[in-house]
């Protein structure tokens, strides 16, 4: 799964959780930029992401996230690690 596809999936998940279908998001977007992205929604976004991609994001990784780009990179890294061989 390419970085761009992951970003598009991530955008859709965030848009769903925040119930803002037309939400615009790029790699530099942070939680502060988006209305309604509070700590409560943040947990939901991470959990929805884990469930969608079939991965688990570590407690320490969640704390270090600074923007959407970093989130996408973590997902990509974990999907790579899941590949057989």
């Amino acid at each position: 799964m390419s970085n761009a596809t992951i970003l598009s999936d991530v955008r859709e998940i965030i848009a769903d959780v925040l119930d803002q279908p037309d939400l615009k998001i790029d790699r530099t977007t942070t939680a502060e930029d988006v209305e309604g992205w509070d700590s409560f929604s943040h947990i939901n976004i991470v959990v929805a992401m884990e469930s969608h991609f079939g991965i688990k994001i570590h407690t320490s990784e969640i704390e270090e996230l600074r923007n959407v780009g970093e989130l996408v990179d973590i997902v990509e890294k974990k999907l790579e690690a899941k590949k057989p061989g």
Partner: protein, 633 residues
């Protein structure tokens, strides 16, 4: 097949679009919201549907709404905000409008004790308590001996009971206690249960004790054990989220949590299903009876498939033995459809287990409607089990109020699917439940007798009916509360009471409390009527009058009013005051008091009416029913 996935609900193909359009609208119809709540939703979809619901409630909210509103408080020692949307959506699934209140986490005792607390202002109809294991038990302690561990469990259970009693002092209504989650890591390993102070021993001991105390205190237990055993603890509890936000339950499990909690509330509110309507071919046996014949269908020993169907039938019969009514709805010739029931040696279900048997070539939706009519129960109290996705979809489309589980393809899982779907949730089992199947069968025999009598009077006389009555008592209490909470059709006021409420009515010596039992030549119909009259000056106000629809058209209403009048006179009343409060389901009793000779005092635009009967002028009705007072029930 995990409970957290709500796999028995059918996925909705256009879910995304429908959620989007509902969120955009502020005048979505309640029925559409209910329908969407009845499709399979994950936790994000649940949150979105809840948002749409809240938005539309604000615009459409009116006190005249035909659905019931309830208020629920969640008092938890951990974070529970993320569970509230799922509770509201699970209520919506049951046609209930739920308003929720979450106490600040860990603050439940203060909330309960203060007169001016937000909880007190909220006035909940339902209180759900959820306490996490560390809060209750601290940490597992390997040095505890058996006696110390037992006393720790006992004192902890005592504290929980104290919390319930505190709540009871201030609030009437339903109390629910969530079971304690088994979140402790083992101390020694596989021998954990040999160690009295281990997490497993303490949590199990506590949950067992909670169950016993809950039964004494009439508290309902939201037992998550079975769900967690089936799905795995990891599906329900995520340690990361526990440390991050003190969420004991994962948001992923929220939809299932809401569903399970609302089963208890739904049961209390009379929303549990009553009747299981079964397809035959490939649902009760393998193959098609019309094509394969009696010898060709797969049922019983000799094949795994045949045994799976026997297993399913055995489960269905056990449901019937605890009060679920069974019906058959099959596209078949009647003769073919009956043959296995009458002749196949491995059939577990027999003709006498089926209260209503329909086999023809008409569409199933019409047949299901007819079944509800014949059994005289609401169509929304039916569950329809059919292996055929085509039939399921037609019934869902035509009769959205009928529950239609998405049966797995393998018959080995049919029983699991029905039990996971929890349609028939019961708060308790009464002796009446054991006898119900027989009562519905006897009803059909009465019907046959009626058709053989040309005049109604002759028929009624031939029944040799006895109305046996007595005031409410401890023995009948469970059944009385059950009837009060589940009778929808023949119910003048549809007031719901808890066991505690009923007890306080019993304590009023001036009140009329009648439990009525009807016995006839075909057997005992059980308790079929409840009347509560509350004295106000020289007037006896009929607070509650409800009856089982099984006994309609048999002069039981007339015999009952004779009795009510006699009792009210004995207690010194000069007149009776009756009320009719309309609901979606009780139209059948709109003219009840008029038929019994009451004078109309007033009626309002919503259809509610008040009626009066002067006792001095009263002439008792002639009936074919012999009334026997205070006979042992």
């Amino acid at each position: 097949m995990r409970l957290v996935d709500l796999y028995w609900l059918a996925p909705s193909a256009d879910l995304k679009d429908r959620l989007r359009s509902m969120a955009a609208s502020s005048c979505a119809a309640w029925v559409d919201l209910v329908q969407l709540a009845n499709s399979r939703l994950d936790f994000v979809q649940t949150i979105r549907l809840d948002k749409a619901l809240q938005k539309n409630l604000h615009s459409a909210s009116s006190d005249a709404a035909p659905w019931r509103k309830l208020k629920m408080a969640v008092l938890s020692s951990s974070t529970s905000d993320h569970l509230l949307p799922a509770l509201r959506v699970a209520a919506l699934r049951r046609n209930l409008e739920l308003h929720t209140f979450a106490g600040d986490y860990g603050m439940y005792l203060q909330e309960l004790q203060q007169d001016s607390s937000a909880l007190f202002e909220f006035k909940p109809d339902v209180i759900l308590f959820a306490f996490h294991a560390q809060h209750l038990l601290g940490s597992p302690n390997p040095s505890l001996n058996r006696a110390d561990a037992a006393s720790l469990v006992e004192s902890t259970a005592d504290k929980i009971r104290g919390t319930w009693r505190l709540a009871r002092k201030r609030f009437s209504g339903q109390i629910i206690q969530q079971s304690v989650l088994p979140v402790f890591e083992p101390l020694i390993g596989l021998n954990e249960r040999r160690l009295p102070g281990s997490g497993a021993s303490l949590v199990d001991g506590l949950n067992l004790r909670i169950g016993q105390l809950a039964d004494e205190e009439n508290v309902d237990v939201l037992d998550l054990d079975r769900a967690m055993r089936g799905d795995g603890l990891a599906a329900w509890h995520d340690p990361v989220l526990w440390y991050r936000g003190k969420q004991e339950l994962s948001p992923l499990a929220a939809p299932a949590y809401g569903e399970l909690a609302l089963r208890l509330i739904g049961a209390q509110q009379g929303r549990s299903a009553k009747c299981l309507v079964l397809d035959l071919d490939n649902t009760l046996w393998g193959g098609v009876i019309g094509d394969d014949g009696l010898e060709g269908i797969r049922l019983g020993q000799g094949s795994a498939v045949g045994e799976a169907f026997v297993g399913f039938q055995t489960y269905v019969r056990s449901l019937a033995s605890r009060g679920v009514i069974l019906a058959v709805c099959s596209k078949n010739d009647m003769e073919n459809a009956r043959a296995p029931f009458e002749k196949h040696p491995d059939m577990v279900l027999k003709m006498q287990d089926i209260a209503c048997f329909v086999a023809n070539w008409s569409d199933k939706a019409s047949n299901i409607r007819q079944i509800a009519e014949q059994l005289n129960i609401g169509i929304d109290s039916l569950v329809f089990a059919d292996d055929n996705p085509f039939e399921r979809n037609i019934v869902r489309r035509e009769l959205p109020m009928v529950a239609v589980p998405e049966l797995p393809e393998d018959a080995a899982f049919y029983g699991r699917c029905l039990s996971d779907a929890g349609y028939f949730e019961a708060l308790q089992v009464t002796t009446e439940d054991f006898e119900r199947g027989g009562q519905y069968r006897a009803n059909l025999e009465r019907e046959n007798l009626r058709t053989s009598h040309t005049d109604l009077a002759g028929y009624l006389r031939s029944l040799d009916m006895e109305l046996r009555w007595q005031p409410f008592d401890a023995v009948g209490l469970q059944r009385i509360v059950q009837l009060i909470n589940k009778t929808n059709q023949f119910n003048l006021t549809t007031r719901r009471y808890t066991e505690r409420d009923v007890q306080s009515i019993m304590d009023n010596a001036g009140a009329v409390t009648l439990q009525l039992r009807l016995v006839d030549q075909f057997g005992d119909n059980g308790i079929i009527g409840i009347v509560i009259g509350k004295p106000e000056g020289d007037t006896m106000v009929l607070d509650t009058w409800l009856m089982s629809c099984r006994v309609l058209g048999r002069q039981v209403e007339e015999a009952t009013i004779n009795l009510v009048v006699a009792e009210a006179k004995r207690l010194g009343s000069a007149r009776l005051l009756g009320e009719y409060l309309p609901t979606k389901k009780n139209n059948m009793v709109r003219d009840h008091y008029q038929k019994l000779g009451f004078q109309c005092l007033s009626s309002d635009a919503g259809g509610a009416s008040r009626w009066s009967l002067d006792l001095a002028q009263y002439e008792p009705f002639d009936t074919f029913i012999k009334t026997i007072g205070n006979a042992p029930l």
